[in-house]
């Protein structure tokens, strides 16, 4: 409502006892570069990512090359007794998947139990993964299946949020519709503060870490 917009901005300015900011002030605000305190840590970012991610019940397996990813997925699938089908993000579709393994690039439907995706980065600070939505990374793959497997290259691990934002800003297409920072399996404490995994999103988030 245009009159509401005008009224709210007018009320804000009258409360602040001034009119709209002068162009020079506005330009100074737009040029502001925040330098907030970052968390100091000395541990190796890779080791820190794994330790923090696992502390929230995420799991990590390490493989030597991208070509070993299908075998790692197969091992996970058999360990958890899952059917031989998955939603697999497009960039991973051409890996040597077993012949009897049915897969599609998404979106994930209601009965999807397993997804395998890439990611934009991992953030060592708190042990999180960052996924950017797009045709190569549908958001439903991150939230609908019970099991979410994420392929991460060691070189993709950044130190903190600030470095992760730089990757987002460097994208020629701008920010994705959804940027998902995922720090473990879905959980809830809403009943008597008892932590229970698998509230609405994946019950298990498993990282396949490629050297």
């Amino acid at each position: 409502m245009p009159e509401s917009r005008k009224a709210i901005l007018g009320q804000i300015r009258s409360a602040l006892r001034r009119g709209p900011l002068a162009d020079a002030c506005a330009a100074a605000l737009d040029a502001r570069l925040p330098t907030h305190t970052r968390i100091a840590f000395t541990d190796d970012p890779l080791a820190r990512f794994i330790a923090r991610f696992e502390s929230r019940s995420g799991t990590v397996v390490r493989v030597a090359s991208l070509l070993e990813v299908p075998a790692a997925v197969e091992t996970y699938r058999q360990q958890h007794g899952l059917p031989a089908r998955a939603a697999i993000a497009r960039p991973l579709a051409d890996l040597p998947w077993p012949a009897d393994f049915a897969h599609h690039p998404g979106p994930a439907g209601k009965d999807e139990v397993l997804s395998v995706t890439a990611c934009l980065a991992a953030i060592a600070e708190m042990g999180s993964l960052m996924l950017a939505s797009g045709p190569d990374s549908p958001t439903t793959l991150n939230f609908v299946p019970d099991h979410h497997l994420i392929v991460l290259h060691e070189a993709q691990i950044v130190r903190d949020f600030e470095q992760a934002w730089a990757l987002l800003r460097a994208r020629p297409e701008g920010l994705p519709r959804a940027t998902n920072i995922v720090s473990g399996p879905s959980r809830t404490g809403d009943i008597e503060l008892t932590i229970q995994l698998g509230a609405h999103g994946p019950r298990s988030v498993h990282v396949i870490l490629v050297r």
Binding site: T35, T37, R56, T139, F143, D190
Partner: protein, 465 residues
């Protein structure tokens, strides 16, 4: 939402006598308090981060018009729509209009306190829509037809047994007794709803002026399913939730979860920027943000501006001994605990909320844990002062204070009255030195004895030295 703050005292008495509430509150609060202390202790930077967060919020409030305009431009550039709502009614209208235009039937909701504030669910239901809360806590209280009793743990007042009864009544048997089974049951029921939904409504922890993104910080993933699977995503947020840049978001991500649930981070932090792109295969086709003022701009530039720094973490109520004894419902509106005792009078008026600023011992624990250093006890004192100025404090109290002032301004009279009172009360205390019942102080002596003065007044003893 209906206001029942005038019944604060009655509701507190009932709450204090409710054993299930005491059990639920006792178990839960300890978890929040201990886990926060543990995590904050591990982070040497924490106090500095609190200072920076306070300063950043002040900077945003001083330039709120500018950042709101920048935010609006960025949302529009990303293909989204920004709507401005002066009050609750305008906000409801905007959302109802969108739902009507897209011919919605089922509406899913992630957790949003602003939607509680504007009474959204009642309005949507009256409009004939099916509204489903998807946050587990919100879902539980929706089944119980109750308002939330905590801003981040809305069903904190419910025991597992009560949840089990509610689920059995809503979903049919067999009755589940473990938390794991109850969570699975809700997961399966709500899964269908996400896929049926036409409109998904979430809140916004932060609105980023630089990018036009709205951010939700959650543990369950329900907010993400809500906004990804519905055809239309609507964000409801207060105008004060703006942050300038992504770097500023990082600052808040470092203190929010630690202060709120005592986690290093919540499981999901999601930035939503506009609707689905042309080549996306999922995500909402429309993206709307409803910016709600509803009294916030009036708080700017005045004695209560500090309250606009609030990031809704709930630490103040987790640490409040009054909230811990009576729970959130007694406060009678949307926001309970110390932050609610400040906000509710400002949003709905001083008259209907008389008891809230007075239900505080001024112990200062809330301020000591507030991540953005809101001086909550000082604001509560300020509200009491306003009550006095507007003459809405009880006549008896006003007269008693007047009498006390008359005496206190006359030192010899004051000392005489003190000597007299010490002698009389000392006599009343008898050999035990305790008074079991005292007129004018029944609220004290009904539940415990009053210790009696022993001997002379302090001034007499001082002079005798």
């Amino acid at each position: 939402m209906k206001i029942s703050s005038p019944q604060f005292k009655e509701k507190s008495v009932i709450a204090l006598a409710d054993p299930r509430l005491r059990q639920a509150l006792g178990q839960s609060r300890k978890g929040f308090v201990n886990k926060r202390a543990e995590l904050v202790g591990e982070l040497p930077e924490f106090e500095r981060l609190r200072d920076e967060a306070r300063d950043l919020k002040n900077h945003v409030l001083d330039n709120l018009d500018h950042y709101l305009e920048r935010y609006e431009a960025a949302v529009t550039a990303a293909g989204g729509h920004v709507h401005w709502a002066r009050d609750a009614e305008e906000a409801r209208c905007i959302i109802l209009n969108i739902c009507q235009r897209v011919n919605a039937k089922t509406i899913t909701k992630g957790k949003t306190m602003v939607s509680e504030e504007i009474g959204l669910n009642e309005a949507l239901e009256a409009g004939g829509y099916t509204v489903v809360e998807t946050d587990l806590g919100e879902y539980i209280i929706q089944l119980a037809h109750e308002p939330p009793s905590h801003i981040i743990a809305p069903a904190i007042h419910k025991t597992k047994e009560q949840v089990s009864e509610l689920f059995e009544a809503a979903h049919g048997g067999p009755r589940k007794s473990s938390v794991a089974d109850l969570v699975t049951e809700a997961r399966l029921v709500l899964r269908d709803k996400y896929f049926q939904a036409d409109v998904g409504i979430t809140g916004g922890n932060f609105l980023v002026a630089e990018t036009g993104s709205s951010i939700i910080v959650t543990n369950e993933g329900n907010g993400d399913l809500t906004q990804t699977l519905a055809k239309v995503h609507i964000v409801t947020s207060g105008i004060e939730r703006i942050v300038p840049t992504l770097e500023d978001v990082a600052l808040f991500l470092r203190i929010l979860a630690r202060s709120a649930t005592g986690q290093e981070t919540e499981t999901y932090t999601t930035l939503s920027t506009g609707p689905r792109r042309p080549d996306d295969v999922d995500g909402p086709e429309e993206y709307h943000v409803v910016l709600v003022d509803n009294g916030r701009s009036k708080m700017l530039g005045g004695k209560f501006q500090d309250m606009l720094r609030c990031i809704r973490c709930g630490a103040c109520m987790n640490h409040c001994p009054v909230y811990g004894a009576i729970g959130g419902h007694a406060y009678g509106w949307v926001y309970p605990g110390p932050m609610g005792a400040v906000l509710t009078p400002l949003f709905v008026g001083l008259d209907a909320t008389y008891d809230l600023p007075n239900a505080c011992t001024l112990n200062g624990r809330c301020e000591s844990v507030c991540p953005v250093r809101i001086p909550l006890p000082q604001l509560l004192r300020e509200l009491r002062h306003m009550q006095h100025q507007q003459g809405i404090r009880p006549q008896g109290e006003q007269r008693a204070l007047g009498a006390w002032r008359f005496v206190a301004e006359r030192p010899s009279l004051y000392q005489f009255a003190n000597r007299l009172a010490a002698r009389v009360l000392g006599r009343l205390g008898g050999s035990k030195g305790r008074i079991a019942s005292l007129p004018f102080a029944r609220a004290w002596t009904d539940s415990r004895d009053m210790p009696a003065p022993e001997g002379k007044t302090f001034l007499e003893q001082w002079q005798a030295r």
